[in-house]
Symmetry: D2
Amino acid sequence: MSTTKKLKLGLVGGGPGSFIGAIHLNGALMDGMFELAAGAFSSDPEKSRIRGEELMLPSNRVYGSYDEMFEKELELPESERIDVVCIVTPNNVHFDPTVKALKHGFHVALDKPLTLNYQEAKELYKAVKASDKFFLLTHTYSGYPMIKQAKQMIAEGQIGEVRKVYVEYPQGWLWKLLESEENKQAAWRTDPTKNGLAGCMGDIGTHAFHMAEYITGLKVSQLCADLYIKVEGRPIDDDGVVLMRFENGASGVLMASQTDTGAENNLKVRVYGEKGGLEWEQELNNSLLVRWPDQPDQIYRAGTGYLGSLANENTRTPAGHPEGYVEAFANLYRNFARCIYAQQKGETPKPEWEDFPGIEDGIRGMAFIDHVLKSNKSDQKWTPFIVEK
Amino acid sequence: MSTTKKLKLGLVGGGPGSFIGAIHLNGALMDGMFELAAGAFSSDPEKSRIRGEELMLPSNRVYGSYDEMFEKELELPESERIDVVCIVTPNNVHFDPTVKALKHGFHVALDKPLTLNYQEAKELYKAVKASDKFFLLTHTYSGYPMIKQAKQMIAEGQIGEVRKVYVEYPQGWLWKLLESEENKQAAWRTDPTKNGLAGCMGDIGTHAFHMAEYITGLKVSQLCADLYIKVEGRPIDDDGVVLMRFENGASGVLMASQTDTGAENNLKVRVYGEKGGLEWEQELNNSLLVRWPDQPDQIYRAGTGYLGSLANENTRTPAGHPEGYVEAFANLYRNFARCIYAQQKGETPKPEWEDFPGIEDGIRGMAFIDHVLKSNKSDQKWTPFIVEK
Amino acid sequence: MSTTKKLKLGLVGGGPGSFIGAIHLNGALMDGMFELAAGAFSSDPEKSRIRGEELMLPSNRVYGSYDEMFEKELELPESERIDVVCIVTPNNVHFDPTVKALKHGFHVALDKPLTLNYQEAKELYKAVKASDKFFLLTHTYSGYPMIKQAKQMIAEGQIGEVRKVYVEYPQGWLWKLLESEENKQAAWRTDPTKNGLAGCMGDIGTHAFHMAEYITGLKVSQLCADLYIKVEGRPIDDDGVVLMRFENGASGVLMASQTDTGAENNLKVRVYGEKGGLEWEQELNNSLLVRWPDQPDQIYRAGTGYLGSLANENTRTPAGHPEGYVEAFANLYRNFARCIYAQQKGETPKPEWEDFPGIEDGIRGMAFIDHVLKSNKSDQKWTPFIVEK
Amino acid sequence: MSTTKKLKLGLVGGGPGSFIGAIHLNGALMDGMFELAAGAFSSDPEKSRIRGEELMLPSNRVYGSYDEMFEKELELPESERIDVVCIVTPNNVHFDPTVKALKHGFHVALDKPLTLNYQEAKELYKAVKASDKFFLLTHTYSGYPMIKQAKQMIAEGQIGEVRKVYVEYPQGWLWKLLESEENKQAAWRTDPTKNGLAGCMGDIGTHAFHMAEYITGLKVSQLCADLYIKVEGRPIDDDGVVLMRFENGASGVLMASQTDTGAENNLKVRVYGEKGGLEWEQELNNSLLVRWPDQPDQIYRAGTGYLGSLANENTRTPAGHPEGYVEAFANLYRNFARCIYAQQKGETPKPEWEDFPGIEDGIRGMAFIDHVLKSNKSDQKWTPFIVEK
């Protein structure tokens, strides 16, 4: 027998009509480090059963609730029991299952944003800190190899001190009142009781904010937010812009929208330093444009031989064989798994493996939402950004 | 003899080391409607003489000052005398020659921004309004055919009511203190006495502002500005962002920088309406991306048969034969000339010909600079945008 | 218990240093329809053991040879035994394991090209035809959703009768004599005894040929080949071009190279018909450019709502969430699995699921190699293309 | 008086409905080195008169025939008389006016291809060689700055010995029988008596051939042609491909079409050498992609500071201010003019100025047409390419 074995995954959420649950699974399964072992796919037991069957789970590992899953799985022998809980429910069902999963001794992978609100986030922060289990928050876009490369180049000073960050996340899918047309995704994401009080800014603004801080290694210290409801009848923001100032004096502009009619999902980040610039866009994710003031721009490409260790640990194909969104997810899951394995074996993980988003990113994201909502209501231009933990 | 004749151009500025003077000439000459007839190329008569010789002007039409040029040209028979004065000097030498040229009965083409400051602008506004001469302000980017097409499509309601405008103008050429390295362009553009008090925002922010209003047909009603000096030792802004609100409730973000290291000149504008979106970038100027929420995006291309009248009147080659920056200039000059000819012949010009930037655009641009500077100093988020004329 | 269960995969090849074996696994595992159950990863039992351990297989399911694997697996109860054999060895080890696997009652997924030579291909053709097992040949690029869309649009007559096909496959990785530098991939792919007598044309020319026929639904009837050895010391072609004529009178150009220094892997196909054109390139695989003579070009995008059934059955993410090369593999494996499941359940698979490359594609690919080699030696311009089965 | 004066241009052709005549003028006028002084715009004197009036020529300089123009202009004082004849007529009216213009002592700028047929070309070759006048043949695409840069980089050995050239010129404008719809351009270009016996290959294949030889500095030694008439009812080819072998052993593929439905005018050239590769496409003409096997690809951009002398002498705007097709024409005309001026002044022109296409390019282009037609009819794969002069 091999000494390591696949990590067993128990899914919370991802029932019929879910988008992100299936993608989490694709990403987790791809590299053969996880296997789906159990699930509480829906709060409706029948829906959960149907989804479990689709996923070819034995029926005794399909549960009607996460509470039931935690309880029953703990009764199984350790070698059969799930190792990791993966939570892909709406934001109002993040806090409770995460806290309980950790308490029951499971590692947790949680979809972003961290929680429904900042208060929950601060409590969850403590729970994760108090646990010895691993916690992954799926800020997917930080899993792309060329983002890893950009982060490493900036950290190494290749573009000099950072002066400016543009990050934009234009989507158009909520261009009309889709939530009134039986669209499940639109319904919960525009419902403040399920999504939280920030709509667009909570859903994708937090991705953009994470990207800005992740890639530069800088922290925001002040912000100025301007949010809009572009589609009449919607209770929360579907568009906005946030000006940012970073601790080193750099400035930033963050734009996010779900009502840029016709736009798909092209998260784009541009960082300019004293010596050069970096530009990346998600829809062309295998390239990183590196700009110089006095020599030709360069196109760094995923899968090539000249990349740094951070990118190298996050690819699986050679140059010209495009990896994408699912692989970005897979990169997060693979690093998460590598760290769990290292812990199991008592080994020290490579620093590159530890580079996946977690609770520190999560609490900052929720603080971002909180400060953005505050700033949006304020007549004052600038709001200091202070994260309470 | 043909009844019409080429319009005779007298140049003010554009001496050795000038960039924009030569481009104005390329644009004006290309279509055979203008000929260079005289010039006061520099305040240094020797430099003026040298430039005149390079341009193959007879020496008696090369002047040591614009005052001299105006005086001497008026002494010539009307058929030999210049018709149009083209002013391509630094901003502090816009007001005086323009006012005098108009007073002496010449049409005027003036490089943007209108004047050194808002006060001058208001006076010049009156002077132009009082004159029966044509006045062209070279907001070049509005001369591109695909911008004309976008303007027409928006005006026709093809993308529905406009909700959002992103306009960005990232340059990187002032990434270091170039003005301390004998760079003539950098020197005057960072000198508040020659350039005015807004650096980046005056030079290229005004282009971006003009684009936002021109393409949408909407007027800004409030703004929130945040300017930066990114390079130490520079007296005026070299980077900034302006949030905008339009009279119809649409919102906008305007970014401009001269210190986005490695960036060239990619003015980009994106407009999203209730039904669709439009995206254009100057470095790929022959295409206009038209985005739809529920059908494939379309690429409108310059020189094709399906474009509207506004684009059609502003191209000269069939699709796939790229026109560029010089042709954008040429379009402004050609429309300006067509209007002058129509006036000479007592004919009504086509509305498409009258669509070139002039004094109304100029006064709004100077108001933009004024309000941006004010807003930048203010702790209040929003500053009302009111244009005094 | 659920009635369906995951398909159990037995891998042949894919030992240390293999590229494509790992990708097959990523693709097969991603959608949760397969699980790796056994493997004969290398002809060196120790290497096989090491790889099996990496892949977390129990040691009793790791074999020293495929013969051993077939024999031992058949001794296992049917519910534990592998269902599918996946063969990812060099071309000289395609024929034997495939024939044996089929004979032993396993479904087979085989990496392209079909066999070492045409003679083997003709025999294998008979073996597959005589079997009731499914056979997948991984012409990966036909798994991309936008290729599926293009195929469907052409079949529906949207661009009219096809007149012209350009297909090009420029790579640069063999730009120098890499095979003399301990590069395992380069070594076997340039060795005629392992790869076959056509180098570049066998490895990637067959992909390009498959693409040309797959996307258009047309068959080649004549060809004219011109092959080169660009790097001195290499025994087989590393570059070439093939002119093609199709049965309907359309013409085609196929270019393939492994010595286009600096090129990555941008397989590109363009098809022009009497009414419109289609253009696709693999490195930007989520877009399909649709060209019209008299209206704006369109960009069809993967994951949108307006695509046909063939594309829809081959995506997993919404528009703007890039899928890539691994997903193209996964699409082949998912369709293959869906057909196996349908057979198991006695159901009729959807036609879209049956659309994966198999033995007919394989025999044509080997005939292509054979005719290209013949034409290359001939002084005659055209060689008739006749496939013997 | 300034010692130099503008060169006076006499146009032959370019009457109403002409496309290329207007572009020649735009290009020639732009830089202020030429002025239009006379014209024989049409063989129909009334049409010539109308066009002359549009161009604001005095009526006594508008002629009913080129013979008349040559005769009358010679009667004018040398300082008023035209210096240069610019010939923009259909191919059957290239030979006669060129020979006569040279004989009368005028410099000549002639649109490509050189003549109606190879026989005329050989005679014209002698005439040009016997003259001391300058002769420009407007292979426009060689005027683009990034093509100049590519040529210089190859000549300097930056990509090593050239191995492979792909040149393609896909157009779609003749996708249907446009010549039956009163389209003047289509009519003469598909009429063998006006265009010559090679349709697509004569019109744009010659551009592609010129590009291949110009950029590499290599000469073709053998070719294999395959031509098609894609649109029924057309008497001459509208599509084709030519395989090429160069004197140094490099190989090439040339594709040209006027029936690639939906394609515009994207002449594209790719050159791969032993050390790197170069890729350029006309519709994105301000960039040159430089590819390396082991380091990031680079994007060389027009107007930057790091370009070589050949590119530098052929731009007028800084990076990010796109130049295009008209400027490519203007570059040819400017270099032509610079050489004429140098001759007038008894100076030696810069080598960069002498780099414009002329009679040697012209005779090779006509030989290309001749050999392509021969090869197309032959069953033999290869036809030796030998240029008789």
